[in-house]
């Protein structure tokens, strides 16, 4: 056996961790039925890899090596326990143990089982998010706590409670049957979209783990599309990619927000945009329509050359799926670009009069922008000040202050 250099082995284990952690945990959960045991055994297997691969060389199939090692570790751990329950699990484990690998389809489906179980609607939403990160991406409890800005014991409790609910309420470890799939898939997509948005909203000042949530969401989105290429799953992945392509241009040198019309389009990531565009167009669905809107922006040379009438039409379709006032506000902005600020302002004033968006700072901020474009500086300033009072973050206030100063 060749002696591997420490650097090579560390790189190989790190790479295997990124690609195989979820697979190892997913398989171990199926084989043992015990989520904590699966996580602990997977962690053991990766620690063992560091030592063994140095001595014996990096295996040809690291994933299979890690799964087998984790299984052996699980068997050892169960043998050390002495309760009746543990013996039953041991019997189940050993019945499937040995050298013969599981069917490739079964292994393939393990990660999908894990995704759907982590995102089961009977779990609290925060628990779904945490469990998805812990079991599928391998982030530690401490890292997840940092990413969501909560104390580590709080995150630990969230994870423990979610696993306890899965165990005690007997949430099945399976891909839901076809008649349940649409509802369950939308629960999965909601978790991925939240992860993406948490990371996307995190600015340069935020910790790296928080910023990386977007990358984790895209990674999980790619995995989901690979395993289950449903139109809305592809739509969400496209949406995330098309937004992520603009990430570098969204924040200025001093950490200030840069809106779409002021972003340097030459710095948009064309490879990511191309990947997003390849996933479209598909059947209409809320994520696919939002992705189609993002695609209109991604391919436009400038704000002026953007296909605003098409964006308005896409918002009309989106309102059928998501009849929310925020979507109506965004549609009003697109109408203002397609038909002039007065047409947009009429819609925004209608929304303001209905009172459904009372307290939402983007409503007066949008009114202010339209009034400014119409040359009505006085009323624009009034609306900017109203938005300033409602804004929740320093970045938003700094942005509004700058617009006010420009008047």
């Amino acid at each position: 056996m060749t002696q591997e250099s420490s650097d090579d082995v560390e790189a190989a284990v790190a790479s295997a961790f990124a690609t195989e952690w979820g697979q190892v945990v997913a398989t171990l959960i199926r084989v043992t039925g015990d989520w904590d045991l699966a996580e602990d055994s997977a962690a053991d297997a990766f620690a063992t890899a560091l030592e063994r691969w140095r001595r014996d060389g990096i295996p040809r199939n690291p994933g299979a090596w890690l799964t087998t090692t984790a299984r052996n570790r699980a068997t050892d751990r169960i043998r050390r326990e002495a309760t009746g329950n543990a013996k039953l699990r041991q019997a189940a484990l050993l019945a499937r143990d040995g050298d013969e690998p599981a069917e490739p389809d079964e292994v393939q489906d393990d990660r999908l089982r894990l995704i759907f179980t982590c995102c089961h609607p009977a779990l609290p939403f925060e628990g779904r998010v945490a469990l998805t990160l812990r079991t599928l991406t391998g982030l530690t409890t401490a890292e997840i706590a940092r990413a969501f800005l909560v104390p580590e014991p709080t995150m630990y409790q969230r994870l423990t409670r979610a696993k306890k609910k899965i165990r005690e309420a007997a949430i099945p470890y399976r891909v839901p049957p076809a008649y349940l799939l649409p509802g369950r898939l939308s629960a999965v997509l909601a978790v991925l979209y939240l992860l993406f948005n948490e990371g996307y909203a995190a600015t340069a000042g935020a910790n790296l783990i928080r910023q990386n949530l977007s990358a984790e969401a895209i990674r999980l989105g790619r995995l989901l599309v690979e395993l289950l290429p449903e139109p809305e799953a592809r739509g969400l992945l496209a949406l995330m990619l098309l937004h992520d392509a603009r990430r570098a241009t969204r924040v200025g040198a001093d950490g200030e927000l840069v809106t779409l019309d002021r972003q340097d389009r030459s710095r948009w990531d064309q490879a990511t945009i191309a990947e997003g565009l390849r996933l479209l167009p598909l059947a209409p669905g809320a994520y696919q329509l939002q992705a189609a809107i993002a695609a209109c922006h991604a391919v436009a040379e400038s704000v002026e050359k953007t296909n605003w009438p098409r964006i308005v039409a896409l918002y009309d379709d989106l309102l059928v799926h998501t009849p929310s006032p925020v979507v109506r506000l965004n549609r009003a902005v697109a109408v203002a670009m397609a038909d002039g600020p007065a047409a947009g302002l009429a819609l925004v004033d209608g929304l303001a009069a209905s009172g459904v968006l009372a307290g939402y700072h983007l409503l007066p901020a949008t009114r202010a922008d339209l009034l400014r474009r119409m040359g009505n500086s006085e009323r624009a300033a009034e609306a900017y000040r109203e938005a300033f009072a409602l804004a929740a973050t320093d970045a938003e206030r700094a942005y509004l202050k700058a617009r006010l100063d420009e008047l």
Partner: protein, 110 residues
């Protein structure tokens, strides 16, 4: 896996168990549960005449209630034997009261 299904409904539902049994959708639902070996028993409860009993320091304290703060009342319960939570959810969603009240799915501690 055993689950208790706890049925909550508003005060306006004062139907007797005989009346509920006569509902075609309730009968179809129950016949299916019995045929599949899922139904393990249960009862319609008189929701508005509950008595609370506590023993404190050797003394038996008796009072009217408890009733929830909301307008909903516990109107009955069922015991069901299901393969897993998804099956229990499907059974709960089929209870006619799920369409206007709430059905809680509570795992039995065995």
């Amino acid at each position: 896996m055993k689950y208790a299904l706890v049925i909550w409904h508003g005060e306006e539902h004062a139907e007797s168990p005989q009346e509920i049994d006569a509902w075609p959708e309730h009968k179809a639902w129950m016949d299916d549960l019995v045929a599949r070996g899922i139904f393990q028993g249960g009862a319609r409860l008189r929701a508005m005449t509950t008595t609370k009993v506590q023993v404190r320091g050797g003394e038996t304290l008796v009072s009217d209630g408890p009733y929830a703060e909301t307008k909903d009342l516990i109107g009955g319960f069922l015991m069901v034997e299901c393969a897993h939570l998804d099956e229990a959810i499907e059974v709960a969603a089929g209870h006619p009261f799920a369409a206007f009240g709430t059905v809680e799915v509570r795992p039995v501690w065995e």
